[in-house]
């Protein structure tokens, strides 16, 4: 480093580093079976028919669609985007190779496997070394499922949603929409009408899932919005940890993603849901990128149950997502740990809702927002204590780190308390990376970028330590790549 003009050197470093491009950008050439763009009852009937769904499913979809027609797209989030034309989206796309469904990894289309190789998550390796069962969703239809046998021995059902609809219709009918009803909100309603696939997990009474369940979502075929539906049910005293990770190829057109995730924890059950989201965020000029409008909600239905959301959000042009917990059971616990990064022209409006309904319910919220470039990062959270929720306890901490003079960090916490035994605490701070810390590191011979990485890692530590090990490693790497050179 040139001691005489450190500021200048730093500035040009930044120029180079900021241009760090999205590494997972590529398109896999696979024939896809795609329905023409547009949305009407016929399309929904077609989706349902293509998936051989039972009648109740089709009716539910149509009910949702009719309700959706009466809704207006919401605009309260602190984000801006061009209007979405819902008629120009194709609502179904399945890889052709599905026709002769693979029964083992060897039968899987080698191109798909290659895709995962490029992402650094080779399926077989992952499955063997990390002991993770993977149910990979490749543009809406599952193509590979591993460790089914091992899970089946424990009585656990882990399969593609479309398969669950066919094989376990009674479970799906009982639980689907019981946490996020089809009429919940604009995007959840749209999802209810047109969802194509997703994951289904059922952990029976008293079973501790022997593996971390994991799914990789990818958006691949051009112009195909993804509408996953995930449903996880943990019966009495069951434990399950679920990992969801996403990357997507580089593309210029905005893609809509409106997933719904429902978690149900019965008495004494524990569900841990971890997400690393790294969809294409658009280029450095804000062109392209995924619109990620997701509804995620868990219900602690039984006493002593626990639901924990952990998310690392580094991708998407726009993220609009509030993983929530309904604390209905007495002594139930809800947790939310989040790291959200908005670089370049990314916009993130994310947070959580903790609804305290039962007695002695507790919730913890730790949210870390990082804004760089022209990124806009908002935390929006609700802590609600109903009149009958005796001794409810909430602690919220949301910190923001600012890394450029053109970005924004915003905090909108709502606290609504109707019970005088409740204790609700919220604290938030916003600041930039301290010059003192940077100077200290540099004086000890640590390069600026390493120092920034170190400080950011420290800033996010409270969240990363909640992630399963292999995810924590990936998350840290992702964060470093996302923020390369973001500090000047």
């Amino acid at each position: 480093m040139n001691e005489a003009a450190p500021a200048v050197t730093q500035a040009s470093d930044v120029e180079n580093l900021v241009r760090g491009e999205y590494r997972h950008g590529f398109v896999t050439d696979i024939e896809a079976d795609t329905v023409a763009p547009g949305l009407n009852e016929d399309v929904i009937r077609l989706i349902s028919a293509k998936k051989y769904e039972p009648q109740f499913m089709l009716e539910w979809r149509l009910k949702a669609f009719r309700h959706w027609l009466t809704l207006q797209e919401p605009h309260w989030a602190h984000v801006r985007h061009a209007p979405i034309d819902y008629q120009s989206i194709s609502y179904y796309s399945a890889p052709k190779s599905k026709q002769n469904a693979p029964r083992s990894l060897d039968e899987v289309d080698p191109k798909l496997l290659e895709t995962y190789e490029k992402l650094g998550v080779p399926l077989h390796e992952r499955a063997k070394l990390a002991g993770v069962a993977v149910d990979a969703v490749f543009d809406s239809v599952s193509v590979a499922t591993t460790f089914r046998k091992k899970l089946a021995e424990a009585g656990i059902i882990f399969c593609a949603f479309s398969e669950a609809v066919k094989s376990y219709p009674e479970l799906v009918e009982k639980y689907l929409g019981s946490v996020v009803p089809y009429s919940d909100n604009f995007f959840a309603t749209l999802n209810s009408a047109v969802f194509t696939d997703g994951s289904f997990v059922f952990v029976p009474k008293g079973v501790r899932c022997p593996l971390e369940l994991s799914t990789y979502f990818r958006i691949n075929a051009a112009n195909t919005g993804q509408f996953e539906r995930t449903l996880i049910i943990a019966e009495e005293d069951a434990h399950v940890s679920y990992l969801e990770g996403c990357t997507a190829p580089m593309r210029d057109e905005n893609q809509l993603h409106a997933a719904v995730v429902e978690l149900i924890a019965l008495e004494g059950a524990q569900i841990k849901y971890s997400t690393v989201q790294n969809w294409y965020p658009g280029d450095a000029n804000g062109v392209g990128g995924i619109y990620n409008f997701v509804t995620k909600r868990g219900e602690c239905r039984g006493a002593d149950s626990r639901i924990s959301w952990t998310q690392v959000e580094t991708g998407s042009a726009i993220t609009w997502k509030y993983p929530s917990v309904l604390l209905r059971g007495d002594n139930s616990i809800g947790e939310f740990y989040s790291v959200a990064v908005a670089n370049h022209y990314q916009q993130a409006d994310t947070g959580t809702k903790m609804i305290h309904i039962g007695r002695n319910t507790r919730s913890t919220i730790v949210s870390k927002g990082i804004s760089a470039g022209h990124g806009q990062n908002s935390y929006r959270g609700l802590v609600k204590v109903l009149a009958k929720a005796e001794n409810a306890r909430n602690y919220t901490q949301c910190d923001s780190l600012l890394m450029s003079d053109r970005c924004g960090a915003h905090t909108f916490p709502y606290m609504e308390v109707k019970n005088p035994t409740a204790k609700v605490e919220h604290e938030a701070t916003t600041s930039k990376i301290s010059d003192d810390q940077l100077f200290y590191c540099r004086s000890r011979g640590v390069a600026t970028e390493d120092a920034v990485n170190m400080i950011v890692s420290g800033f996010c530590k409270d969240v990363f330590k909640e992630l399963p090990m292999e995810f924590a490693v990936e998350a840290q790497r992702l964060l470093a790549v996302t923020l390369e050179g973001a500090v000047g």
Partner: protein, 440 residues
């Protein structure tokens, strides 16, 4: 549509009946301003709960009352009943208003001070309205706020305070607004215009006092401008009756190095909404917002604050505390906005709430909107109860539960009052709080 027009009708009729009186001897610009403001109000109607700013406060109770314009002040008034509203700790320059209209007989004017002009707005409008025109530039109003529009439409009385450059006022200025029982519940819309020149220092006390059985609407709006390095300590004590409706907006603009310290005590009223905004428009400007709200049986109190950091090296510090008991509902919404170029901004905000009853509700929302990076901003909010340990300690020392609780609540509240710099004002504020807490 029908419901809206029904809510607006009493105001429309009031405006129609009052307009001939108001236009008499008024310059054309003022008449036009009032008409335009009323049209704006009628067009918008009362804010609905779907508006984010009114999420937790419904204007329905206010709409149902159908307030008519307040009457001219009654001939006699019980001096004992209004005595507590007066600052007696030190001599002050006082203007008194009854139901929004200046009552000169009750004023206690200090000696004339060169460099200070203080007068009732009604008088100022009669004598030299054109001099005031600059105050009513469109930029000085919340153009989309119906209550501000309503205040402007019925612009009639209030106070004008102008302090010249370099003037340091030793004597506090006090404005007292009394709400008295009227044949029909009435609405008044006092406007307060304050301008401090460069390096001017002043202390302003506003008291809103409701007499027994009063059930009026006071819809006040204050515009305060602080010139370079000016300093203002501003204490507002709202102790209206348990049937009074109270809306109050304060909008401050601050120049380089100025310091605005506000203390807002919301201790009375049935349905209360206060908005306190300041714009730190030039470097080194500083704002301190302190607030205390106390609610009990059937009352609704909503405090909104907003601080805009628009220039580098501006500072703000906010502490609002609430004591919520009985069947009541309190709301706090504190917003801090840091604009793009406001580097080295330092903003801190804290909101603490004591929730004391099963029927009470508190909704709090501290917001940060930050568009600059080199800043230090923080906010905190808490909702909780009295510390069991502290209660136990006091009881082990022989205090009965009531006294012990009272002592702790008192201590909680006094953390806000301790921040009042002028000793006489602090004593006054303590007296007001004691009167309210003692009565409960």
């Amino acid at each position: 549509m029908n419901a809206v027009s029904a809510a607006i009708r009493p105001y429309a009729e009031g405006f129609k009946s009052l307009e001939p009186v108001l236009t008499r001897s008024a310059p054309a610009w003022l008449t036009a301003l009032r008409r335009e403001a009323f049209a704006r109000f009628a067009n918008h109607g009362f804010p609905g709960e779907r508006e984010e700013d009114w999420k937790y406060t419904s204007t329905r109770p206010l709409e149902k009352r159908g307030f008519v314009p307040s009457l001219i002040a009654p001939g006699t008034i019980d001096v004992d009943a209004i005595e507590p509203a007066f600052l007696r700790e030190i001599p002050a320059h006082t203007l008194v208003f009854i139901n929004g209209q200046h009552a000169p007989a009750l004023d206690t004017a200090g000696s004339d001070i060169a460099g200070l002009r203080i007068a009732s707005l009604g008088k100022a409008l009669q004598q030299a309205a054109d001099k005031l025109q600059a105050y009513f530039a469109p930029a000085s109003a919340w153009s989309d706020d119906p209550f501000t529009a309503l205040n402007t439409a019925f612009l009639r009385d209030g106070a004008v305070i102008e302090i010249d450059d370099g003037m340091r006022l030793e004597q506090p200025l006090q404005l007292i607004f009394l709400s008295t029982k009227q044949a029909q519940p009435g609405a008044c819309h006092p406007r307060i215009l304050v301008r401090l020149g460069r390096h001017a220092h002043a202390t302003l006390l506003e008291t809103y006092h409701g007499l027994e059985a009063a059930a009026n609407l006071t819809n006040g709006y204050a515009q305060i401008h602080l010139g370079e390095n000016a300093q203002l300590e501003h204490l507002r004590v709202q102790r209206e009756s348990a049937q009074d409706f109270h809306v109050n907006r304060v909008r401050v603009t601050q120049q380089h190095g100025s310091r605005y310290v506000s203390h807002t005590l919301n201790l009375g009223g049935l349905w209360v909404r206060t908005d306190l905004n300041t714009r730190l428009e030039a470097p080194e400007a500083e704002a301190v917002f302190n607030g205390l709200y106390w609610t009990d049986q059937g009352r609704h109190v909503d405090n909104h604050t907003r601080i805009d950091h628009l220039a580098p090296r501006t500072r703000s510090d906010e502490l609002y505390r609430g004591i919520i008991g009985g069947h009541s509902h309190a709301v706090f919404n504190g917003k801090v906005v840091v604009a793009k170029h406001a580097m080295k901004t330092d903003a801190a905000q804290i909101n603490n709430n004591l929730l004391l009853s099963r029927q009470a509700e508190i909704d709090t929302k501290p917001e940060l909107e930050i568009y600059a990076d080199d800043v230090q901003c923080s906010h905190g909010a808490s909702i909780g109860q009295l510390d069991e340990q502290a209660l136990f300690y006091l009881r082990s020392r022989g205090l009965d539960p009531e006294t012990a609780r009272g002592l702790l609540i008192d201590a909680f509240a006094h953390a806000v009052l301790d921040r009042i710099a002028t000793p006489a004002l602090q004593t006054f504020a303590r007296r007001q709080l004691a009167a309210v807490m003692g009565a409960s």
